[in-house]
Amino acid sequence: MMSTEKKLPLFEIFVRSKRGLDHKHVGSLHAEDHTQALEYARDCYTRRSEGVSLWVVKSSDIVASQEEDASSFYDPMDDKPYRHATHYELPEEVNNM
């Protein structure tokens, strides 16, 4: 079933969460080309914070040394507050969720 299908290329995604900060690696996704990868990066990796800039790089173009690190980032996103836990007001008794 899958064996006949050619794979979609993999892209690594880097996000600058705000001005003054570096782009950070946040993960990868599949897309046909750079343009589409950029569009999907917006939907897949910045649902809570637009981020001011995105980089997409074809995974196959990355040459890596031994060590690399990436950490996540999240900034509040202004128009979808319901994605945040604080949007739900719960009583004291159970408020450790």
Binding site: L29, E32, T35, E39, Y40, R42, C44, D79, K80
Partner: protein, 255 residues
């Protein structure tokens, strides 16, 4: 608000815009977990969320204008087919991915022009809502435009599917530009957008995209209309029976 304007006409206008948005949002939300691959699931979900968010804003405003004191949810969940005012193109079933994307390109192009004009509305509330929506529509259009290119100029199958979708949708497009008398009054008052005037720009831009996508623009051989008068395709009733199920089965409760 201009005191001379019929408040009922304004209410109807805002309500219709809410109906446009909820029907579009509903159809798009049907793709969630059904898209051709995971990344597209997420992307199409965002577009659906934008439209449902839009519906909420329009309905909230309509609810404030409503003299029957109905809430935004009452307006969405407790009106039947004949009271829905959405343009027919929005209620058509999602079809295959080609149908969804061709329709999306058509309505995104329309909405870009429409919202641009609505930001100039003398009604501050409408102008503010339009200002927020137009940013979303710009992104929607980028996506749907790209998809129409990929499908139109992809494989033979995708081309055929896109062309068929275009033919099936075409007769619903003239309604996008039909303005009735009550809406005409609002246009005169500087509140509503003169949709009829958007047609030539829209037509031009659709033509450009279709050429680029190697698709054939259909002949203007048929058209149907009626949404703004509450005359719909049979699809809307089924959509409403799903959309409104809980509110109808358990009337009068909080959720």
């Amino acid at each position: 608000m201009n005191q001379n304007v019929n408040k009922q006409a304004l209410f109807n206008y805002v309500l219709a815009l809410g109906d446009d948005a909820i029907t579009m949002g509903h159809r798009l939300s049907e793709w969630c977990r059904n898209a051709p691959f995971l990344e597209e699931d997420l992307a199409i979900g965002n577009v659906a969320l934008d439209f449902i968010g839009r519906a909420q804003m329009f309905y909230q405003y309509a609810a404030e204008l409503d003299d029957q004191g109905r809430s935004e949810d009452d307006l969405a969940f407790l009106r039947d087919c004949r009271d829905f005012r959405n343009l027919l193109i929005y209620e058509l079933p999602k079809g295959d991915f080609a149908f969804t994307m061709v329709r999306q390109m058509i309505v995104d192009l329309f909405n870009m022009e429409f919202l641009e004009q609505l930001t100039k509305s003398s009604d501050e509330r409408l102008s503010a809502i339009a200002g927020k929506c137009i940013k979303e529509s710009r992104y929607h259009l980028r996506r749907s435009h790209d998809w129409v290119l990929r499908l139109g100029d992809g494989t033979e199958e995708s081309h055929e599917r896109a062309q068929r979708a275009l033919v099936d949708i075409w007769g619903y497009t003239p309604e996008l530009f039909m303005v009735d008398e009550s809406e005409q009054q609002l246009v005169q008052a500087g509140i509503a957008v003169d949709r009829a005037a958007l047609m030539s720009v829209w037509d031009n831009r659709v033509g450009q995209i279709l050429t680029e996508a190697k698709l054939q623009k259909p002949e203007d051989s048929w058209k149907v209309e009626g949404g703004r008068r509450g005359v719909h395709t049979e699809h809307l009733g089924h959509m409403l029976s799903e959309l409104q199920f809980l509110q109808r089965a358990y009337p009068g409760l909080q959720w």
